[in-house]
Symmetry: C2
């Protein structure tokens, strides 16, 4: 049997032309690409009944230059004042900047942009150079009732950076992106909010050269959006890194913060703990730009010991066994793994196909009782001290085996690690051929996990020709995060929007949290009051009124605070 | 040389007569006593130049019946309404109840009570039977502007339960003290706020019998006041248990809470984590009764595995070495011990004397370089899985030895464990002879530890004939808690008060936190604004205004919220 060369769609391989819509929608580096594998293409052709023809011509690529027919609706005297504060070069009103710094990476906005639909933009884009400038800008905007938005890395998936009421967008990452101080004694780092993940991690790794420390450090926070996210963004949207099971969520990594708000500027104190009333340091986390602007943050850091990292992967005979083994690991009190994830049967089977498992391996697994449609992949890493990682891995092996799992060595885990940050690059390719891939995540307790998993899957699968792959990641002794990935062929924004809103509703109705680590933004904003209840929403609104009585901070639906 | 029988002061051995001041001031069980050892007595006689005569007659014992010359300043119609809500038997106005439920265990209030000085009391004491009753009571008091206080176990050391504006004191621990639910799957327990520590722990230990679980559980939270503290008290005052280095502070143990506030009743959701805006669940912690009343709380629980507990103790040659070893342990990423404490030289030397170290041991230690005035005792435990505790203990041994420490086996640690909850019983004995023992604690970062330790010690020692013993306990990778114990001979309340306020000021000026785990109450309240800064204090006040616009919840200085 001769092997046909696999069919390859005409993926785009060109860096977007500067100034085009394409350059706004492209994820990450303009010159970096990650195309779906041949396995992926075959799977989509099968699932969506697509022919090679359907993959021959890219559509709605957004190659036209950004065009904006909305004049700057801001008095010239304000703009002059902004220039006096931040320098003329850092205050811009060109169409491209106004559009680029108004957009995140929500599937819906990408679909719309491709069709040339541009939603709300700011009138003026400012790149402040210091926290003192931010203070002056906030004070001025507050005085004149000018809406103020913050843009950092722009990977928001919930319209979190959309300037819904025009005004000013502050791009905090252009200049305010440095690591200011490393305290080796306290194991903390003081960093400007606009610093990107890789620059932050690299500076910590190189702390001996840059800060004269004895040891090297790591930030411990690696979300999938790592390359296009900032330290400040992690904190104000309550992100979780892939190794959060060990290092903690962004929430847990913050020691102190400095905020500029219309009600004043303050820095919380740097104690590891204190019994001095409700913690303002925690109150600010997750405020998503609605209370004030995070300008500096002191984070916990950790010793950088990659040489101790252990990898593991397992195949479980069923989702139930995978879940029970995971619960035992998280509650076993022998130390927690760093990365840890279990894939449900659909994700497992598709993953095995995509990564090209040889047929004999499949047959071997099936013979051993690890059958398609039931078997579940588990992978992860352990980090920390050498003896600790050895112990934790040994314990995990023992628990997994007791639950019928087969060890697959560290291979799958290492393979996953290599591409952990590049998955989002595939979205452009898929969208070029009218396929949408999106994700929703939710926090679950162990006793609600199965209900949420089954209920939300049923909701997604109720749409014909829709794939749904689910994994659990980010574990706690009390529960985990369910991460739903869904793929569908559609170019109809309205259809996609109503489908996605239906999935969000299904998550809520089945007892999951509205979000685990993607935040609320404007997409979940309308649901927040129903989710939290009137009384708790009232608390968030009281804080809003305190910090921002004029309603200038990220107005227009963010966190649902100013919705009726 | 004949050995003289050690002198024993005439300690009180009688349970206080019911209805007396003595019965209000006595710590813990009326029939339990723990007298200072002969070593203690000798030390006090030496330090305070006291003779056996000075220890012959107890003074200001408070044996008189409670007398209160203040009529109930509450309209009868309100009292009738309270009786309609909570039952006539649970609404009392007798002098004894009004005094008893107005007092905590601050040294200053005990000194005053012994002199017959009674500060503010509530007009009515109510023992609510359910959260529904609490809701009705809060609504009624809010409608009529009646101040509302909460009393649970009464071990507050900062006037936290003092009804500064009269009104009503709710005793939450009389009826609302049950464990409602144990979720073995989620490893959580839902408990009424007024449940005492020992009852809670016992019910968790006996979960198989009481709730049909497979395993036994522990709460992981054991403050020194364990026997006379409640779960709700731990949460609203931000307590720390002695094993907090492993289990976390009360703050970290809370999964969700139900509050009754003038602005409404709500229960936060039970997710292990969520990115849904600022966390109301965390905003409420530490509110010390000023925002609302905590009625139920869902706490993390842990597997009960006492058989795995490992003990260790060491002698370090110096405080510097003890601190550096501790930092290495907390930052070493091999797992954390449960109990962990290091005593400074004064505490170490006094401790060795008090617990009667034979002279040849002393000589041996000194010969080995562990000299009085320099050497420091370290003790602790490791908890968790068996292999985990084995590893962590081994690692701790290694680090300590590398810092010049001598292992003393687990003996000292086991000895400490036996008396860990009974130390507070000694206070009555000491006060009977005009000696005050009190403590202040503060959170420090590693790089501020020595400055705070030296500065605060200098402040305390500036008073002649004043002992100061310090240990660090409750450790974090970023720092620890310094716990100052001071002893002095005085019966002058004003002198004691101004001395103590001076120590608090010294803590602040040297860079420590205002409190690590004793809370704020009315004692630290006047300092809170200076400590947090105007902007952060403004946040706490904005929340206060939202929850309690009439200012009925614990008014009169608590957290400094209603101070000018």
């Amino acid at each position: 049997m001769s092997r046909k060369k696999p069919f390859t769609p005409s993926w785009s391989e060109k860096a977007p032309v500067p100034g085009t819509i394409r350059s706004v929608i492209k994820y990450g580096s303009p010159t970096a690409f990650k195309h779906p594998s041949p396995g992926w293409v075959r799977m989509m052709m099968d699932e969506f009944h697509m022919s090679e023809d359907d993959f021959s011509a890219r559509r709605e690529e957004g190659n036209a230059p950004v065009a904006l027919d909305r004049p700057v609706a801001m008095e010239e005297r304000h703009i002059e004042r902004f220039k006096a504060i931040s320098g003329a070069a850092n205050v811009v009103t060109d169409a491209y900047s106004r559009v680029r710094y108004a957009c995140g990476k929500t599937t819906e906005e990408l679909m719309e942009l491709r069709k040339g639909i541009i939603r709300e933009v700011a009138d003026v884009v400012i790149h402040p150079r210091s926290k003192e400038e931010v203070k002056d800008l906030v004070a001025y905007c507050n005085e004149h009732g000018i809406p103020l938005y913050v843009f950092a890395a722009g990977s928001s998936v919930n319209f979190g950076v959309r300037p819904a009421r025009g005004g000013v967008s502050l791009v905090i990452s252009t200049h305010m992106n440095r690591l200011l101080e490393v305290s080796e004694k306290n194991q903390t780092a003081r960093v400007q909010a606009g610093m990107f993940g890789p620059a932050y991690e690299e500076a910590l790794n190189r702390a001996p050269e840059l800060f004269g420390t004895k040891g090297r450090y790591t930030c411990g926070h690696f979300p999938q959006s790592f390359e296009y996210s900032t330290v400040g963004g992690w904190v104000v949207t309550l992100g979780s890194g892939q190794a959060s099971t060990y290092y903690g969520d962004a929430y847990h990594l913050v020691i102190s913060q400095e905020y500029v708000t219309p009600a004043g500027t303050f820095r919380t104190r740097e104690f590891p703990a204190a019994a001095t009333g409700p913690k303002v340091n925690d109150i600010m986390k997750g405020s998503e730009g609605t209370y004030g602007i995070l300008v500096e943050v002191t984070m916990k850091i950790f010793r950088y010991m990659p040489e101790n990292r252990k990898h593991f992967s397992f195949m479980f005979p069923s989702w139930d066994e995978a879940v029970e083994a995971s619960r035992e690991i998280m509650q076993g009190e022998f130390g927690l793994p760093a990365v840890y994830r279990i894939s449900d049967p659909e994700e497992t089977d598709r993953g095995l196909k995509l990564y090209g498992m040889p047929p004999f391996v499949d047959a071997f697994l099936a013979r051993r009782g690890y059958r398609p449609g039931s078997r579940c992949l588990c992978l992860g890493t352990v980090e920390g001290d050498r003896d600790f990682t050895k112990l934790v891995k040994k314990k995990i092996m023992k628990v997994c085996r007791a639950h019928g799992a087969l060890s697959l060595t560290g291979f799958a885990s290492k393979k996953w690690e290599k591409t952990r940050f590049t998955e989002p690059y595939m979205r452009e390719d898929l969208q070029d051929f009218g396929i949408q891939i999106d994700t929703l995540e939710t926090s679950v307790t162990w006793d609600s996990l199965h209900r949420v998993h089954e209920g939300v899957r049923a909701c997604i699968k109720a749409r014909p020709q829709t794939m749904c792959m689910t994994h659990a990641s980010h574990f706690y002794p009390q529960g985990t995060n369910l991460y739903f990935i869904f793929l569908m062929r559609t170019s109809e924004t309205e259809e996609f929007r109503s489908f996605q809103r239906g999935v969000i509703r299904s998550i809520m109705e089945n007892g999951g949290s509205l979000s685990h680590h993607h935040g609320v933004g404007r997409m979940m904003g309308p649901c927040l009051e129903e989710y939290l209840g009137e009384e708790q929403m009232g608390v968030l609104r009281a804080l809003k009124k305190h910090f921002d009585p004029q309603g200038i901070m990220n107005p227009g639906g963010q966190l649902g605070l100013d919705l009726p």
